[in-house]
């Protein structure tokens, strides 16, 4: 900062403190306005879920005139099967997916980043290619395959691919991280007679907790949110995930119970929101680092 008298425009193209302060205030006003505009719908839905049924559509405000949890109680049992079952199913699928993805993707990433073997670059290029592949191209034969295996109407089609590292994005994420670990670690361990498995499990994995956590959280959120997979593989209501439950709710109730629908919608976002609250640094860094060209 230059020590120019206030109000005078300084040469060299920099501006006076007074003008600078006004600019800062304007920027904050713009950012604050934009944040409110963006978050307003979410807050409105939250408020609507606590309003008495007759008030939901009459008010655009985000503060209910009176609070009620009736919508939650009605929504929870709004379908033949309770939302408790849907939440349990979603949790089972998401947690199994996290285990599968973290294990299988880290193994593949370890091979790509830390081991020497013939064909490595070829397979790595293949892996990168799958990142661009629209899932529709494999969708129908996969469906036919899982159907022949008798896996339709089970969680297996949703979970088993995760144990086969089907989501290359996470391999890529971990390769980036593993490559950054000092090579001397492996070499020293190898000198001491460590097998690759021990190097993976005792050295690389413990040092990679940040990236593993990032992968775990994103896997959980994406699996939790997934609509298409459950839509085609699960058709019996007691196996529905929360997302399928919500969709059925919109279909079956038509316009009758918006309160219950909003309450369950809010509830379905709670796990994601909790991850956001506690791990947003990790999530934001994860996005920033994979986005970087390097």
């Amino acid at each position: 900062m230059t020590d120019a008298p206030a109000g005078l425009t300084v040469v060299n193209g920099s501006v006076s403190p007074a003008r600078k302060r006004i600019t800062t205030i304007l920027i904050h006003a713009a950012l604050l306005g934009a944040s409110i505009l963006m978050l307003y719908p979410l807050l409105w839905m939250l408020a609507a879920s606590f309003r008495p049924e007759n008030e939901i559509f009459t008010s655009a405000s985000i503060i209910p005139s009176s609070w009620s949890i009736d919508s939650y109680i009605r929504g929870w049992n709004g379908l033949r099967t309770s939302f408790g079952v849907f939440f349990t199913n979603s949790f089972i699928i998401s947690i199994l997916s996290v285990c599968g993805n973290v294990l299988a993707c880290s193994m593949a990433a370890f091979a790509f980043a830390r081991l020497q073997f013939r064909g490595r670059n070829f397979w790595f290029a293949m892996m990168l290619m799958t990142l661009m592949l629209p899932y529709q191209v494999t969708l129908i034969p996969q469906y036919v395959l899982f159907r022949q295996l008798g896996w339709v109407n089970t969680f297996l089609p949703l979970v088993v691919p995760k144990f086969l590292a089907a989501d290359g994005f996470f391999i890529f994420l971990m390769v980036q991280f593993f490559r950054g670990l000092p090579k001397e670690l492996d070499e020293a361990a190898q000198m001491d007679g460590c097998s690759p498995w021990r190097i993976y499990w005792k050295i690389v994995m413990p040092l990679s907790l940040p990236v593993l956590a990032t992968a775990a959280i994103f896997t959980f959120i994406w699996t939790w949110d997934d609509f298409f997979g459950p839509l085609i593989y699960l058709s019996e209501m007691r196996q529905y995930t929360v997302m399928l439950g919500l969709r059925t709710f919109t279909d079956s109730t038509g316009t009758s119970d918006y309160g219950g629908l909003f309450a369950m919608s809010v509830l379905s976002l709670v796990p994601i929101f909790l991850f956001f609250l506690f791990f947003q640094r990790l999530l934001i860094e994860g996005i920033a680092t994979t986005g970087m060209k390097r």
Partner: protein
């Protein structure tokens, strides 16, 4: 797991008397063992199905009876005798062409505001990112359907200014735009990537430029934009592919139909209807391969043209 001992001597290249097999075992086996789950998935869930789906695209297949070879009929019908195919193509293209640049423009604009060293950056960044994280959810699509309904939130606001808004969702002129707005609303993750990119630009370049009397706009056009092109390129590719694949919002908001008058019939939605509504698996496979070709052509085109506009400093 047995501990395989490797003495320093083993690490030095070719041990004399080892056979080919033992060399393969020691050099290549660990890599392939670690790669095994992925390899099984890659061959069984990606390559195998891709080949199968290419084959199915030349057949009639209803899932119950064996596929029946029909040559290029599916592709011919698609191009010459299926108005819905062209409708869905037009809807998807419109969505991609408007949602991606607008979303990236928003992301860049907000990232630049945030990059001016203002206080509260982590808070703003988190608030803007939240919709990106939640946006893919069915719950948000449900919320969107309400916001843009005839008696929804948007029209309540307009009513305060005496404007009677249409029912955006059920009006074919606006329905697709509600989905575009939903996509722009989720500008948070490209914004974070832009922000990380902006941080890499050395501050002294701006100082030098302003010493030379370059205006803010000139600095943006001559410094920020060129140095940011790799990030723009990355974001554009990722967002475009995502836009092509978008499914859930259109499905939920239109109740799976793509209505009104097919105005939100995304390509992916049409493909879903053909495959799992009418069980025309052969035809749906052909649709999938056309989508792949489209995404492939787009990606190849981007990479080929990138050397003319993407700036790499090395």
């Amino acid at each position: 797991m047995a501990v395989q001992t490797v003495s320093p001597a083993d690490l030095s290249p070719p041990a004399k008397q080892t056979s080919l097999w033992s060399r393969i075992w020691h050099n290549d086996a660990p890599g392939y063992l670690f790669l095994l789950p992925w390899l099984v998935g890659f061959l069984g869930l990606t390559i195998g199905p891709m080949v199968t789906s290419l084959y199915l695209s030349f057949t009639d297949f209803d899932l119950l009876t064996a596929p029946e070879w029909v040559g290029a009929n599916n592709y011919i019908r698609m191009l010459t005798n299926d108005p819905k195919f062209w409708t869905s193509m037009r809807v998807t293209m419109f969505f991609v062409i408007f949602s991606v640049p607008l979303k990236l423009a928003f992301a860049l604009a907000v990232a630049m505001l945030l990059n001016r060293g203002i206080r509260g950056l982590p808070l703003y960044r988190a608030l803007f990112y939240l919709p990106s994280l939640l946006g893919a959810s069915v719950a948000i699509a449900i919320l969107w359907r309400q916001i843009f309904a005839g008696d929804g939130l948007v029209n309540k606001f307009l009513a305060m200014f005496g404007i009677i808004g249409p029912s955006w969702i059920s009006n074919p002129n606006y329905s697709l735009w509600t989905l575009i707005v939903l996509s722009i609303w989720q500008f948070g993750s490209p914004m974070i990537i832009f922000l990380a990119g902006l941080r890499q630009i050395p501050q002294d370049m701006y100082e030098a430029a302003s010493l030379d009397g370059a205006s803010k706009w000139r600095q943006f056009v001559k410094i920020t934009l060129p140095l940011l092109t790799p990030v723009v390129f990355f974001n554009a590719i990722i967002q475009t592919i995502e836009a092509f694949k978008s499914f859930t919002p259109a499905f939920i908001i239109s109740g799976g139909t793509g209505n009104p008058i097919n105005s939100t019939l995304f390509y992916t939605l049409y493909l879903y209807q053909e495959a799992f509504g009418f069980f025309r698996m052969g035809y749906a496979s052909a649709l999938a391969w056309v989508l792949l070709a489209l995404v492939g052509v787009f990606t190849a085109f981007s990479f080929l043209t990138s050397k003319y506009w993407v700036h790499y400093d090395d």
